[in-house]
């Protein structure tokens, strides 16, 4: 697995169809039938006795083998082998085609695949049969992929492939991801080191077996019957749950050995070397800073205007060639072009902040929680870069939620200039309660990133509505958002052309109302990312309240769904992960039609668990019905499914509840 610091998750993923196109082209094999000669390892794997798997299991990975040979010069050669038994038809699409990466630093060889049909008559395909593509979500990435399709990957057959990658990695580390969404019958990791070399290993999410020595400085780990990790709604990132073995290699040379010790500190030093001399301010940068801060008298205002410049005027464009996957362009280059990827943006921001006397530090992160493990320092754990800004003592402004004290450096404010909609003071949800490697002057230090309080991620919705005799509800709504809800909503509106934004609102209303007309809508603060986002609109919903004889039934929860599909399953294996801690409140007031009185009201609800709370109540005050509710998520992960299910079931029932009005006798 190769990771780069390119944060392509911020790019719209609109090119998947092209990837599918490439994969479909991979069905085109080269002409000619070569006589198959399946290797013995594949035949052995095919003979494995298998336990009973659930009937939904599409395939079993009979063998997953990774044989790593480290050479004295630091070059690593890895032979990969996979053997699958196809159990169900849909496995053909998932496992019948595989892709292998290569680039100028990673050579690919010996790519072959076979099929052992249950009826005999084997197939073999080779590298020349593969389709090659350099498709990537970045503007340009020098990594290419060879895509090979294995014939007859149908139920009952065994397929397998192998290939060799030879590379001289930037860091002497390897990762073995042995757990899959299907069961694994056997997995092996071989390690062959030059004499005198040492290694360190770490198991994540799995209790590893004892190490076996297999000759001089050769080792093997072997696992059997590894359970599948099947996706569940709302689960944490799959990679954060999957078992893996991480290995570091230490050369014989004592100085190199120390350098490769791969502590968080040494990884930080390595990265500090990559970014050295990248943050030199050019005259143009200095001039721009001067221009931006003109009229700004305090440090926070200056920081805000520079941060906003990076977010909005430096366009996200990733161009990755070789070490460019890790090393940023110089601040001068980024400023000249006004574009760059995450590390480029951080570089320029840091440079500009330095010009106003504020120091800052690169922070390497992974955009999924649970990938970075404090117990195992690894340079392969990161896919994104943000900035930690040392706050001057004078900066005491409110709203800097993403800050925390560092014992040596002082108060640090974490900020992601690549996220276009999360302003200074906040941190994108996926990075909260995550880890980051702070690249300080003395090397790296792993720090926990703050979880922002629920009140910093707020939705406050109020509505004044009128119910008429025939059940029509009309009125005005005001929604005020800040924090993550504001960033999410801004993204939704701003990615939509201004002329089409009413449709966004209509789709949102459509999830709660039938037969409505949006009659007016205004958005305040859409372009001011550090301000509250206020959406005001008016609507008419005909037949909203239902007539039933002399009764009029009205659902007080007119808008907003807090329901969650985690309720669907009877049980689950993995925790639920919320995007962020958040606090939402609704306050709806209905003016009732003349001649109607309240006959029955839903009972108030108040429920609270460790992870969140919810309350709602409906009250009648004269000719007004008042519905009030509060929904709060306090933490991002929750393992107790029973509690969670109960919590959301109560919310769902509350959201469906009706108030019953009765026509008064004349």
């Amino acid at each position: 697995m190769r990771k780069k610091l390119s944060c392509s998750q911020y790019k719209p993923r609109n090119a998947r169809s092209l990837v599918l196109c490439v994969l479909s082209l991979a069905w085109i094999g080269a002409a000619g039938i070569s006589r198959a000669a399946a290797p013995e390892w594949l035949r052995t794997a095919a003979r494995e006795s298998l336990p009973n798997y659930p009937k939904e299991t599409v395939a079993v990975l009979l063998l997953s083998e990774q044989m790593t040979t480290v050479r004295e010069n630091g070059e690593i050669e890895t032979l990969y082998r996979r053997a699958y038994k196809i159990l169900r038809p849909e496995a053909r699409e998932r496992y019948g085609t595989f892709a292998v990466d290569f680039d100028k630093d990673t050579r690919l060889s010996n790519m072959k695949a076979w099929c052992l049909p249950a009826t005999g008559n084997e197939f073999e395909v080779k590298e020349k049969d593969a389709v090659e593509t350099g498709f990537s979500e970045e503007l340009y990435n020098d990594t290419h992929h060879k895509v090979l399709t294995i014939p007859a990957a149908v139920p009952g057959n065994v397929i397998g492939y192998e290939y060799v990658q030879r590379k001289r990695p930037y860091v002497l580390q390897d990762e073995w991801w042995f757990q899959r969404t299907i069961p694994v019958r056997r997995a092996r990791f071989w390690l062959k080191l030059p004499a005198g070399w040492e290694f360190d290993s770490f198991w994540a999410n799995f209790k590893g077996p004892d190490l076996r020595s297999n000759g001089e400085n050769q080792y093997v780990w072997e696992l059997e019957n590894i359970p599948a990790i099947e996706p569940e709604p709302g689960m944490p990132a799959w990679l954060a749950l999957a078992g893996r073995l991480a290995v570091k290699y230490f050369p014989r040379d004592p100085s190199l050995r120390e350098q490769n010790r791969a502590s968080w500190e040494s990884i930080g030093k390595w990265y500090a070397g990559l970014i050295a001399s990248r943050r030199d301010a050019t005259p143009e940068i200095k001039q721009k800073v001067s221009e931006l801060i003109t009229g700004k008298t305090n440090a926070l205002d200056k920081m805000k205007v520079i941060a906003s410049f990076l977010q909005r005027q430096i366009r996200y464009v990733a161009i990755e060639i070789g070490i460019g996957g890790y090393q940023p362009h110089t601040a001068g280059e980024v400023f000249t072009h006004h574009y760059g990827d995450c590390k480029d943006k951080v570089t320029l921001l840091s440079t500009m902040l330095h010009e106003i006397g504020i120091e800052s530090y690169y922070v390497l992160v992974d955009t999924n929680r649970g990938i970075v493990l404090p117990e195992f320092p690894s340079a392969m754990s990161f896919n994104h870069v943000i900035l930690a800004i040392r706050l001057p003592e004078a900066v005491t402004g409110e709203g800097l939620f993403a800050s925390q004290n560092h014992p040596k450096i002082g108060r640090l404010l974490f900020f992601d200039p690549t996220d276009p909609y999360t302003p200074l003071g906040y941190l994108p949800s996926s990075l909260q309660k995550n880890y980051g490697l702070l690249i300080g002057p003395e090397g790296g230090e792993l720090v926990g990133l703050p979880l922002l309080p629920p009140a910093s991620n707020r939705l406050l919705r109020t509505a004044k509505l009128t119910l008429n005799l025939n059940g029509t509800v009309s009125g005005e709504v005001e929604e005020i958002r800040w924090g993550a809800p504001a960033a999410d909503q801004r993204a939704l509106f701003l990615r939509t052309a201004p002329a089409e934004r009413a449709k966004v609102l209509e789709h949102l209303l459509g999830s709660s109302l039938a037969g409505f007309a949006l009659t007016k809508a205004t958005i305040v603060g859409l372009e001011e990312y550090d301000q509250n986002l206020v959406v005001r609109y008016e609507f008419v919903a005909q037949n909203y309240a239902k007539t039933a004889g002399t009764l009029l039934l009205i659902r007080p929860r007119v808008l907003g769904n807090k329901g969650s599909d985690v309720m669907e399953k009877q049980e689950r294996k993995y925790p639920v992960e919320f995007a962020e801690a958040t606090l939402h409140s609704d306050l709806f007031e209905f003016t009732l039609p003349p001649g109607f009185v309240v006959d029955e009201l839903p009972a108030p609800l108040k429920t609270e668990f460790e992870f969140g709370k919810y309350s709602s109540k409906v009250e009648a005050r004269g000719n007004t019905l008042r519905y009030e509710r509060l929904y709060e998520i306090k933490d991002v992960t929750k393992e107790n499914f029973t509690q969670l299910k109960k919590f959301f079931q109560q919310i769902a029932a509350d959201e469906r509840s009706n108030a019953i009005l009765r026509r008064e006798a004349p």
């Binding site: 080269a30 197939f123 498709f135 366009r315 072009h337 006004h338 949006l518």
Partner: protein, 656 residues
């Protein structure tokens, strides 16, 4: 992203043209950009169509078919941050067949300051396989901000041995303020013709003194995507050029000419062969009425293995089978397999042998496009059916279509145009329009409501006609587990999120005429909301699912459905003990003549409620002016579906 576009329908070019290509066209100079006007620099939005991320201020596309050269120039005004994405440019090209060069680009700030592009172009490999290489040249422009103008130009040189038919996509995804198109024909290839689609009246290219064709357009709206819209190629304003040898040839003459060869080949393929006659005799009985005969022949043709269904196979798997081509219908019998055209022509041969008037018909499937005979392009005709004269009617059939019952066409071949190939040459035809009675979904529920509001019981779903055909085809390669999983997911979408559903039995996967029948059990926790004294439950158990497509008030394009449909829901609901009906929703129905049909009724029979609901649409194409009525229909239907059955606690009611 605005790529350099081209439709690559290569036709061989006479060798004579080769030397012409050695002449180089005048290279575009880097600095010959037209100066932006003050008005262009100052623009903050598109005055003609406000509220877009960006607009094309000017486009110029110049093709020279003699040289196989096209030059493109595009100037775009950016209005929003999101619009900055148009500064990432990709120009696709086929390596070895064409080359992209002379790329120039620049950014212009609103104050007129020009930022030159650094000239860095990346070649990105999209696909390389079997000597074929498809790449893009990609680059990005510097200092792009809202209100910036970006402009770029490039030249595409096609290989001299090939030429691409020129297509002017006059309508882009972005609004175009002004565009100029020019093509200089290659007279060696014949006379240059054109067809215009979706262009304003009177918009047509003008022939210039030098023989070139020129078109200038202004204020062309961008083409936006919407759900349930016709294929974009049917909506995009464009001009297509093609060469013909005979300038006076009419459209009808064209089709007769170009299909003459096809009709002859078809006749040769079908012939009048003894093996076919024998096969027909074996299948039908002398005393069968004509329709029974035809049904039997249809069933026989459906027994032939359709090789098109082997799509998942790799070339190596196919080669190993050593399948031989069918040269005629006798080969189809001998081999027992064939392509879709082979099978349909085999059926035509059987029908003719049994005394029917039958022909093979090439059609344009609706999943691809609509038929435009005026385009005079036989490549449109990518599917085929058979037509048989039965009594006084033409019956269209597609026995090559897996699971397709006799008397039926798959949705994509209903209401389509095509060409009937017969001994006289050819005839332009239309297949019958689809009807809602050909796609019925029946949903029956027999449930018991508990006093706590939970609903539990049994359900049955029958898919008939197009619904059944579509499911059978979609699930053809799936196993039972996969089919049940897919069906469960589909049915769960009709129900509240907390529904618990289990499929107990499915029948009809392998047939074609009987319904696809699914039955199972269901639990809907808290389906009825308790208010203390009452239980409130919605009129319908299953959601219709269609109203989601009609949430927005504004629409740009007609509504286009794959096929008309009917849904019939029957719910039998046992009331909980201790409750009585306080109120039931009133019956409702649309006028019988309406294209959109909805009827619902709810009756009490003892301690049972019987709810019957029918809904459907007749028609597949609803012009824009009907969108409002359609939206109102679905909104009203949804509101009615959400009406409440009110049950009252007897005990509570008896309280003073």
């Amino acid at each position: 992203m605005l790529p350099g576009k081209g439709r690559f329908a290569f036709i061989a070019l006479p060798a004579l043209i080769f030397f012409i290509c050695l002449l180089s066209s005048p290279a575009q100079a880097k600095d010959d950009w037209p100066a932006p006007s003050q008005e262009e620099l100052a623009l903050k939005d598109n005055p003609a169509s406000p509220g877009a991320h960006a607009m094309i201020l000017y486009r110029e596309s110049t093709s020279d078919d003699r040289l196989g050269v096209r030059t493109d120039y595009i100037r775009i005004k950016i209005f929003t941050d999101e619009g900055k994405k148009y500064a990432d440019i990709e120009i696709p090209f086929y390596h070895g067949i064409e080359s992209v060069n002379e790329i120039h680009a620049r950014t212009i700030h609103p104050d007129g300051k020009v930022v030159e592009w650094d000239g860095k172009v990346f070649e990105k490999l999209l696909v390389k396989a079997g000597g074929f290489k498809f790449q893009v040249k990609t680059f990005t422009l510097p200092e792009v901000q809202p209100r910036s103008i970006i402009e770029y130009k490039y030249r595409i040189q096609h290989d001299s041995r090939f030429i691409s038919n020129t297509t002017w996509d006059v309508q882009e995804d972005l609004f175009t303020r002004r565009a100029l198109f020019t093509v200089r024909p290659n007279t060696i290839l014949g006379a240059l013709y054109w067809r215009a689609y979706r262009l304003p009246e009177g918009t047509e290219p003008q022939k210039q003194k030098d023989g070139s064709m020129r078109l200038e357009v202004q204020n062309v709206a961008g083409l936006e995507k919407e759900q349930n819209m016709p294929p974009p190629s049917e909506l995009r304003g464009r001009l297509e050029f093609f060469y013909r040898d005979n300038p006076s040839e009419t459209m009808e003459e064209f089709w007769k000419r170009v299909t003459k060869e096809g009709a002859k080949n078809t006749d040769n393929f079908i012939g009048n062969r003894s093996a076919i006659r024998q096969a027909a005799v074996q299948v039908v009985a002398a005393n069968d009425v004509p329709e029974v005969k035809l049904q039997k022949l249809y069933a026989r043709a459906q027994q032939v293995r359709n090789l098109a269904l082997d799509q998942g196979k790799t070339e190596k798997e196919e080669k190993r089978e050593k399948l031989k081509d069918n040269d005629n219908v006798e080969d189809v019998i001998k081999h027992g397999y064939g392509s879709s055209p082979d099978i349909n022509r085999f059926f035509v041969a059987l029908a003719r042998a049994a005394g029917f008037e039958a022909d093979w018909v090439r059609v344009v499937p609706r999943y691809q496009n609509f038929f435009h005979p005026e385009l005079q392009d036989v490549r449109q005709l990518t599917a085929d059916v058979a037509v048989v004269r039965l009594a006084s009617k033409n019956v269209y059939l597609d026995p090559a279509c897996n699971f397709c019952p006799y008397g039926f066409l798959p949705w994509y071949e209903t209401g389509v145009g095509g060409v009937r190939l017969n001994k006289q040459g050819s005839e332009l035809i239309n297949t019958p329009a689809p009807k809602s009675a050909e796609a019925i979904m029946e949903r029956k529920v027999d449930v018991r409501l508990k006093a706590d509001g939970d609903l539990e019981g049994k359900w049955v779903v029958n898919f008939l006609g197009q619904y059944a055909l579509e499911h059978r085809q979609d699930e053809r390669t799936q196993d039972d587990t996969g089919r049940r999983k897919d069906l469960t997911e589909k049915i769960k979408k009709w129900l509240p999120a907390n529904a618990r559903l289990e499929i107990k039995n499915v029948t009809g996967w392998e047939g074609s005429t009987e319904p696809l029948h699914i039955e199972g059990t269901l639990t809907l926790p808290e389906f009825a909301a308790s208010t203390g004294r009452r239980l409130l439950l919605p009129l319908t158990v299953f959601d219709d699912g269609h109203s989601v497509y009609f949430q927005t008030a504004q629409r740009k394009h007609p509504v286009y459905l794959l096929y008309p449909y009917q849904t019939v829901d029957e719910v039998s609901l046992e009331l909980p003990e201790g409750f009585r009906v306080e109120s039931l929703p009133k019956a409702d129905s649309t006028p019988a003549t309406s294209a959109a049909m909805y009827q619902v009724s709810c009756k009490q029979e003892g301690n049972q409620l019987r709810i019957v609901r029918r809904a459907g649409l007749e028609g597949i194409y609803f012009p824009l002016e009907y969108y409002g009525a359609l939206r109102t229909f679905f909104h009203n239907m949804k509101a009615k579906d959400e009406e409440k059955i009110v049950l009252q606690s007897i005990q509570a009611a008896q309280r003073p």
